[in-house]
Amino acid sequence: MIDNEISTQKPTDVSAYTKMEKSPGKLKKFFKHVKRDRYLYLLALPGIIYFFIFKYVPMYGITIAFKDFSPFIGFTDSQWVGLQHFQRLFTGEDFWMLLRNTLAISFLNILFFFPLPIILSILLNELRSQVYKRTVQSLVYLPHFLSWVIIASLTFMLLGKSDGIINYFLNELGFGTFDFLTNPDVFWFLLTGQSVWKEVGWGTIIFLAAIAGVNTELYEAAKMDGANRFRQIWHVTLPAIRNVIIILLILRLGDVMEVGFEQVFLMYNGAVSEVAEVFDTYVYRVGIQQGQFSYSTAVGLFKSFVGLVLVVIANRMSKRFGEEGIY
């Protein structure tokens, strides 16, 4: 009930906003709306306050990306330098490497890691035994709760060259040892593999919920029409969860520049640096370790800006294809 209320309410609010700007007479109408929906606004208030205090106010700090910030001169007195830091970023040698690595890791994730929870949740959905399904479901959630530090240590223990278990078996079977951890060729795949291992089960939650909401009559109808299990999946399940898939994909695209600092940082080593350095690790290295605060803020700002643009583009595209966007 409440869900419906909110979703029907939202469009009118938005229209009130846009119309308000056109003629001052509508301003009254806007306030009338506010008055009418005052309880809803009151409900939203804690959230709005939270976002304002913790998300918007700190954004003031972004200004140091355009300044030559020094802590002892302070925010306000540091000298403005315009786009100098951005210039340094875009003309620097590292820029293309950072962009390439970040995008490559992200797209590998979208390519391999994004579809897997969908497949897994469909597989789980097709299981006959509810007990078995629940057990498997719980087991695949578990890795999500492990911290990256533990996963990195497990990776070292499994894949290490001198005492890793996998290399031990490879060696015993006569294939010789393979260099997983300090090999630039496999580094991105190693990261993808870790992400899949850790998050694939957790990712099924939303899809399973969506599948559970599919009207069972549709399956019965499909069965009557002679559809086998695969046909049912293809014609009923997948179309039913299509909008969920697209919304999650949009959210993922917005995160294309976020590849997860912890994971990359923990797996990073000198031998793979040219494929492992991403914007997040670069910001840490230059900003925190070398104390170049303004420059690293500029790098972070650029990263966020690209993320914002990507979300907007993806949302537009999804609307063009006749799906609901995220806003």
């Binding site: 802590p71 002892f72 070292f156 260099d179 951890l181 300090t182 640096s273 370790q289």
Partner: protein, 519 residues
């Protein structure tokens, strides 16, 4: 609907209350913490008569620690120091692993303690802050406190001075006893090998340690050398570079000019030597992905025969090895005297302490007085030998140390704040067995004859602030790859050739030389 609203309203109130309450709570916590310290120091009758008439000064200190856990707030050693110096210490112990990060962040936050450890007084971050007046120039004041000049060598003051201003109080350290190769003597004996004195002999030792079963367990489970590399330098592999170049540090003197070590042929030789050793399995296969502590664990686990260690830090290695084999003797950890006639010499200090300008002048003087008093033997000895009856006993005029208690209380961490340099302190610790103390001290005396110092300590270049970190990283990445065999040694030649023509490199060399000449 109304109920929901009520609940939301309540939640909001709670949220806001929690936000406001938090600060108060922590504030009162701090106060109560101080109060309890206060009363406890008052209860323990102060020995120092002069300090009784004045209120103790509260001093916030930030420093790093190396023990598994930092000393507790209420430990007795700290209380005695507070009594003697008439202060209330409020020490923020930060793990040494990420102290430099913390230092940069604290500087940026502007909320500075009263006395803070500066891990690298030449780092651009500290220099810039000091230039802008973030720290007290203690130069004009320290002459009023005799222990500063008495206990900290002039050379350390000179090197850490910036444009004639003394923003940092150097932390004195013995110049001898730097980290260098340490070899398993028992393994040498098992294989009938002599202590290596050249890189070729060391190579042979590493080979035998890797392939000839030095621990005699019938398994091929040992490795010659264990070490780690850092993102921006060779880490413990740097000792090989030092030996091959005969140069300590990043810059060497050639015909009166400072030259970056990338241009030294020895650097190339060291890389080639290590690449060959790696190929033959004499170096741990995954050294490039090891953390410092992981590398150390392999040495501590008796799986490696050679490592780079400060002799004074070997207690922990011994403690671990003796658990694996109860017959293991401390003297089997043999520090090499030198290789190819080279061993490194320290600059006589390690980092510094600085007092931020946010501290008023009166208080700054009190902190200097505390520091001065702390350097006196009766105070300083509190964290060297601990407290009589708790950490040591005196038998026939000799101090008998309770090693376990000292380690458990972590009292040695106070050395990180104030330290009085004893020339053997980096080599020998009071917890070592007596014969080992003597043996290590003798080795240090021998080392002193050949030790080479870093002549470029404290040199500054403007372009180096942004250029050096990149150069170090690029060079290190390439070195790592060549050692791992994924790039040929000729890649290094190409790199050096390119570096020669790099205008930034030329500018850097010019500025470093100017800085050197003006010293």
């Amino acid at each position: 609907m109304k109920k929901l609203l009520l609940i939301m309203g309540l939640l909001l109130v709670l949220l806001l209350a929690a936000c406001g309450g938090d600060e108060e709570e922590t504030a009162t916590n701090e106060n109560s913490g101080n109060d309890s310290e206060n009363t406890s120091s008052e209860n323990n009758d102060s020995e120092d008569a002069s300090s009784e008439d004045e209120e103790p000064t509260e001093v916030r200190i930030m420093s790093h620690f190396f023990s598994p856990t930092p000393p507790s707030e209420d430990n007795e050693v700290e209380q005695r120091i507070e009594e003697a110096t008439n202060t209330e210490l409020n020490i923020d112990w930060v793990s040494a692993n990420n102290y430099p990060d913390r230092f940069n962040v604290v500087l940026a936050s502007g909320d500075l303690p009263d006395l803070m450890l500066v891990p690298d007084p030449f780092s651009p971050v500290f220099r810039q802050a000091a230039d802008q007046g973030a720290f007290w120039d203690v130069g004009p004041y320290i002459d009023d406190y005799p222990n500063f000049k008495k206990n900290i060598a002039d050379i350390a003051w000179d090197l850490t001075a910036m444009n004639g201003k003394q923003y940092a109080i150097p932390r004195p350290r013995p110049s001898e006893g730097e980290g260098f190769f340490t070899v398993r003597k028992d393994w040498l004996d098992n294989l009938g090998l002599e202590e290596p004195t050249t890189t070729d002999e060391l190579y042979e030792v590493m080979r035998a340690f890797s392939h000839d079963d030095p621990d005699g367990n019938g398994k091929d489970d040992t490795v010659g050398f264990i070490g780690y590399i850092n993102d921006e330098n060779m880490g413990s592999f740097g000792s090989f570079e030092g030996v091959f170049n005969g140069v300590n540090g990043e810059w060497g003197l050639q015909d009166g000019e400072l030259v970056h070590r990338a241009f030294y042929p020895g650097t190339r030789d060291a890389i080639e030597y290590l690449a060959k050793a790696y190929e033959e399995g004499l170096i741990a296969a995954d050294f490039a992905s090891l953390q410092v502590s992981q590398a150390r664990d392999i040495f501590k686990g008796g799986k490696a025969g050679v490592s780079v260690e400060k002799s004074g830090a070997l207690q922990d290695v011994y403690d671990s090895l003796v658990q694996i084999d109860s017959d293991f003797e401390f003297k089997n950890l043999l520090p090499l005297t030198n290789l190819n006639g080279y061993n490194p010499k320290g600059p006589g200090f390690s980092g510094a302490n600085a007092i931020p300008k946010s501290v008023p002048e009166e208080k700054m003087k009190k902190i200097l007085a505390m520091y001065d008093r702390w350097m006196e033997e009766d105070v300083f000895m509190l964290h060297k030998h601990g407290i009589e009856g708790v950490h040591h006993t005196v038998e026939d005029g000799e101090i008998v140390i309770d090693t376990e208690k000292i380690l458990a209380d972590g009292i040695a961490d106070h050395n990180q704040i104030v330290y009085v340099s004893d020339p053997y302190a980096s080599t020998v610790k009071p917890t070592f067995p007596e014969e080992v103390q003597k043996m290590y001290a003798d080795i240090q005396d021998e080392r002193e004859k050949t030790s080479v110092g870093n002549i470029a300590v404290g040199l500054h270049s403007e372009i180096g602030i942004t250029y050096l970190p990149e150069l170090r990283k690029d060079a290190q990445d390439l070195k790592t790859k060549i050692i791992l065999g994924s790039e040929p040694i000729t890649a290094w030649d190409d790199f050096v050739e390119e570096l020669k023509n790099d205008p930034d490199m030329q500018q850097l060399t010019k500025e470093i030389n100017e800085s050197y000449q003006s010293r």
